[in-house]
Symmetry: C2
Subunit: 192 residues, 2 copies
């Protein structure tokens, strides 16, 4: 997605430790016009009319998934939670996730009543690196008996293993921008 790549080149910042900061337009401040274009692109990449639910994970996935859902006929969006809350009760699907950025482990959780065998689920997230969060969401989809339609990612770090592993496993994965290298602070995208 050219518009996204241009934006990453213009406003993304490469930090030590393989960190790409896109906080000025994606995951701290959000450019809503850009999210609309991202949503349209996900619709083009996942045209399957039987998709009936979008699943994402708090926090950065939520805005992207909410805007994207508008291009899928206002499908319901479920966001998985990372922390226990008094608001989260009843039967839960959980999966363990190691966070690379935060240096912590946590359980990703979805109330069982919001996913089931009748669902055909598109998973949306902002970043794919090692694929931990995405694998956690996919485990939850599988446990619920729902069918996975695919995974839509805004930015994939192609120099980490998550995308390769998921594609090898046959997952219908689309990333709007795949970065193959950020060495020396220079962002290089994968050619499509």
């Amino acid at each position: 997605m050219e518009l996204l790549k241009e934006r990453i080149l213009r406003d993304g910042k490469v930090k030590e430790g393989g960190i790409l900061k896109v906080d000025s337009f994606l995951n701290h401040q959000m450019d809503i016009g850009l999210l609309q274009e991202i949503g349209k692109e996900f619709r083009r990449l996942f045209p399957d009319e039987s998709i009936n639910k979008i699943l994402t994970i708090e926090a950065s996935g939520i805005g992207i998934a909410a805007i994207t859902a508008q291009y899928f006929g206002n499908l319901p969006v479920v966001f998985a939670k990372k922390t226990k809350s008094k608001n989260l009760d009843g039967e839960l699907y959980t999966a363990p996730v190691v966070s690379f950025t935060r240096g912590t482990q946590f359980d990703v959780q979805v109330a069982a009543k919001f996913l089931g065998p009748e669902d055909h689920v598109l998973v949306i997230d902002d970043f794919l690196a090692r694929g931990q969060a995405l694998k956690g969401l996919m485990q939850i989809v599988e446990r619920s008996g729902a069918k996975l339609a695919g995974c839509g990612i805004v930015i994939e770090k192609g120099f980490q293993e998550g995308g390769r592993e998921l594609r090898a496993a046959g997952v219908n994965l689309h990333s709007l921008a795949i970065i193959d290298s950020i060495e020396g602070g220079k962002i290089q995208f994968r050619q499509e």
Copy 2:
């Protein structure tokens, strides 16, 4: 907002300890069509054309704020963070918040580069009860030198003190549904 009140009566669940669960349409699963109506109502309540930024707090505020921003000419949305991350660096505005639902205290944080004296900020959140999160966001707006246009809340628990205190302090606060009592599991809205 009648549509919202009807939805709360239909799908909201009252739990012990003054908890109102609206997870089937607002803060775990999101009804995007409802969020669009919420966004339109916020626009009607905050018609000030000089508003140039929307501020919310992760996680449940993000979807509401992102959809709402579309009715404000796609204004940028900044979401305050509740946890430290390698992605959050540089100068920060922080304010302490006690969470009633989670039984914890945390710092709400916004990168200083995303708020400043040139900003006229609308604060959006899903719930107002004791007003801790909202007061934290307002402190951050004040510290940044930005001007507060107002606060838009989806559901206010009118039987807790946050809304009363903020109105007494002159805050331009609008809640789309104010619940005056949930005693005995019966939801009673404030008459407007």
